[in-house]
Symmetry: C2
Subunit: 565 residues, 2 copies
């Protein structure tokens, strides 16, 4: 491809709203342009990267015998009303009416449409195991789109679905997909950790996220140095409970703690460490009032709490609810005589504490020297706390390490939630009707490209991983009116184009402009044809090299093959 024909508008400066490095480079390099908030066009350079990533996916899916298809973007609301997600999805779903007033939506994901087609066309255990996937544009109306392709409102996703007659078939499908995903990320040059993950609103268990460590990442993962444990922080088990030496139980006293609403204020006012305070928070789980206790130096992990409660909606009580239920404002709520609570749940850190401070259910008052069993009861203990960095991991008891990261993939065993709701049954070997068992698999394709850039930044641009680089080889001719240079450049273009994607910078631009643009193109190999062209000498440089080195054209073919094959 000749650069003079290739629409690649580069910029010296990134726009002010670009925070993520990948966002800056993709805008500056002319990979993408924003059309409206969180919605981008992929210019030729960006489109090439996207297509290469898609091709890797297609090859790896073919390798595990999963055929590709594509569902529509525009979906009828009826399907989503059937599954109930039409109401649950909230503002993130783009909804519209067609000319006849029928409710429609833009697909944020496609469990419903895949379940429906299976419900209509798959009747027997003989037709399984079966899996399908698509690479498709999805729509989610993010409240605050940001970081370029990392959190957009229109983005490209691979979403796959598997259908099984037995749990064993599902396990095999899940393992095949997991292996394929690892190969996809490896080939795309994105380092990932497969971590234990929450399944969110999907309603499934046994879920693995693929997290790509990156400074800009919005997730945190907890790993150990041995690599034997890796979990999304919101799912990371905490086994460190901190045992207190047994103490004599003192008598409980009510004390005034005026103006203390936070734990910090309380520790200062009472001169007591947070480890001797039990924090009490009222949650509403559907219609149940749940009082949740935790040692005050720890944070409640709402994902773990949600799994424990298994309710449709779990949320902290509002200020009004708090007063009307407990009689106290924030800071004063506690477990003593809390008969108004339908259930009291405590984090394991509350076990084995003596003479602690708890709220007195009266604004501005606490009880001192409260003790479990004697002064308050707990219905259930569980790990509902957020793990801390340095805690022992649950496998090898090595210190947990935290890393910010980008979620680039997510696979999980969905089970029968959708198939039961939507009536996707099959006849098993005994002629008995069973719901199909589903798995769900996804990669954020455009997000993966951002992750690849974040992980492969250079001083002035990017060093694209070989298999997704927009071009493999960038030929740069220094002076377009130098005949020796033109002759050599065209010869090299013809020679290497047979095997590699070559971009040939044939523009009448200054060397500085060409090199700056080349840093943004980030091809794995750059060959500069300059002053010594007549002597058969060029310069070669990888994006990660500090300097270019001279090389005879006689050695070039072997060197290029070694670098790119």
């Amino acid at each position: 491809m000749r650069q003079s024909n290739f629409f690649m508008p580069t910029l010296k400066e990134a726009p002010a709203d670009a925070v993520a490095e990948s966002h800056k480079i993709m805008i500056r390099g002319g990979y993408i342009r924003q059309v409206t908030a969180g919605v981008y066009s992929y210019l030729p350079l960006g489109y090439r990267v996207l297509r290469k990533a898609e091709r890797i996916i297609e090859e790896e899916m073919e390798r595990i015998n999963v055929p590709e298809m594509i569902m529509p973007h525009l979906l009828p609301a009826t399907l989503w009303q059937e599954s109930g997600r039409y109401y649950k999805y909230g503002d993130e779903m783009f909804k519209l009416k067609d000319r006849h007033g029928r409710d429609s939506l833009l697909g944020p994901t496609h469990e419903e449409t895949f379940t429906e087609i299976i419900a209509k066309n798959l009747k027997s255990y003989k037709q399984m195991p079966l899996a399908l996937y698509q690479i498709q544009t999805k729509f989610r109306d993010e409240n605050r789109p940001r970081f370029g392709l990392l959190r957009g409102r229109e983005f490209v996703m691979l979403d796959g679905y598997s259908f099984a007659a037995t749990r064993e078939q599902l396990d095999k499908q899940f393992d095949d997909q997991k292996a394929a995903y690892k190969r996809i990320f490896k080939r795309a040059g994105v380092t990932v950790h497969p971590v234990i993950a929450d399944s969110g609103t999907m309603g499934g268990k046994n879920s693995t996220e693929f997290q790509a460590p990156a400074a800009i990442g919005e997730d945190t993962i907890a790993t150990n140095e041995k690599g034997s444990y890796a979990a999304n922080l919101e799912m990371a088990k905490s086994i460190d409970t901190f045992k207190q030496e047994p103490e004599e139980l003192k008598s409980m006293e009510k004390i005034a703690t005026p103006g203390c609403e936070t734990i910090d204020q309380l520790t200062e006012f009472l001169n007591v460490p947070a480890t001797r305070i039990v924090k009490s928070i009222l949650y509403m789980a559907d219609d149940q009032k749940i009082l949740v206790l935790i040692r005050a130096d720890k944070q409640i992990n709402e994902v773990k709490l949600g799994h424990l409660l298994d309710a449709n909606e779990v949320r902290e009580a509002t200020a009004d609810e708090l007063v009307s239920v407990t009689g106290s404002q924030k800071g004063g709520v506690g477990p003593v005589d809390a008969d108004w609570a339908d259930k009291i749940i405590a984090d394991e850190t509350v076990k084995g504490l003596y003479n602690v401070v708890v709220g007195a259910n009266e604004t501005g008052y606490q009880f001192q020297n409260a003790n479990l069993e004697r002064d308050f009861k707990v219905d259930e203990f569980a790990d509902i706390r957020t793990a801390n960095e340095g805690e022992p991991d649950p496998v090898d008891h090595l210190p947990l390490q935290f890393t910010t990261s980008i979620e680039v993939g997510h696979i999980f065993k969905l089970g029968t939630y959708y198939t039961e709701t939507m009536g996707a049954d099959f006849l098993d070997q005994n002629g008995k009707t069973q719901p199909v068992i589903m798995g769900s698999y996804g990669i954020g394709v455009t997000r993966m490209l951002s992750a690849a850039v974040e992980q492969n930044l250079t001083e002035h641009g990017v060093a694209w991983p070989k298999e997704i680089a927009p071009f493999s080889l960038h030929l740069i001719q220094m002076k377009m009116n130098d005949e020796d240079q033109t002759k050599l450049a065209e010869k090299l273009e013809a020679e290497f184009s047979e095997k590699y994607d070559v971009l040939y910078d044939d523009r009448k631009e200054r060397a500085g402009v060409k090199f700056a643009d080349a840093d943004l193109v980030g091809a794995p190999l750059r060959i500069t044809i300059g002053k010594k062209a007549a002597d058969g000498i060029v310069e070669v440089k990888r994006p990660t090299d500090d300097k270019a080195v001279e090389m005879s054209v006689d050695d070039l073919a072997a060197f290029v093959a070694k670098e790119l094959d």
Copy 2:
């Protein structure tokens, strides 16, 4: 690909609403499934055909050095308000509001977004000629979606745009695209006529449609047997004006024609041929009242009339407008003393008529023996009639032949409509600001697939053109529990998969089921491995062959190469 792994739900019967043969076959063969009116999912078989068509386009666009990119589906209304099309497009545009209440739309086409990106990034004549294209899902809320992929509400289109500094550059770009389009349709196995076409709401001239003859087509094209003339009927020139022998002018008389509202009623009542009656129809062109005259055996062609009037909106007057403007109901309107008309336009067929019947501007009355110039005046004569089959064509005066056809592509020289409206200027060689000159190019990709099926029907299915067939070779094993058959089938699968897309029917199904499905798959070559497998004999059949013929496996490789390469 093993058919047992391949999701391809076939049906014995097409749904009742499927009228077009291509629609029936695509549903019955498990290529597509409707998700909601005019919106389809492409199952693995259909997706393969779609991807192959896209690959042909990609190769041919690369050949003319046009890079691929992709614009978003979700577009801000502001861009379309700027061009004015937000208001003009009407109910066919899907409109929605995002969570912040901002007006958005789903792109029915992308002139605005491409013009905008050029306006922002292209500054100098040095950056042109430039062209770009995308293959993308488009959305148009058709009032009556029908015929499967032929008229859907969500469909795949190639849309390309060219940008030029001079008319000469545009002409070259247009010719390159035209040649590429011809190659694309040829490779996709779709027979097309490039015809003179209207540019519709696009606001351009010099427009060519690619029309694929097919019984189900909604367009009509007019051609001659020599191939020297081809036009969309709505643009076909009519040169046949029918001259009357001169007659003595008789005196004009008003006569009662009670109850005559149509030409048929009038010819019967008066016993006068339609060729001696002048029909008068009132049109509203924006705010102008235009009286249009035509010889009564001809039909007014509103496309031609629209081009002549060059108004934003041209429409026939309503019944109420007719009475209030002319004083007469339908049937009685005429050109005599029609001072209320801002302009009287007549088709050329009205020239050279003598003693004709015209409306008397009074319900139920006509004038007999009216004569041009003496009794009524015409401001402008033009060809505003629909040509009739058998008329002489305007090039070689051969009889026009009419064919129903499917519009599969459309290219035209758009000019500066969008670039002037949206401020896409460049500096020319003299440093003068000029609007960029655009061309616009489109192929209905999913519609092209329907056309391919319509043109390649067989008795029980389809004979896919080689380059877009979902599979090149269909291996059918008759008995899955016959070891000789399995051995031979697996050997042939391994051998031919290296070079061709092979579908191997390894299902435990009856032969009748396998053959019926194979007719719907329509691979260019079917090889059946049956009873004589042990003797190295198979049966081969093309979809267009009446019967399969036996062949030794020794001859197979050469035969397959001859057929498929």
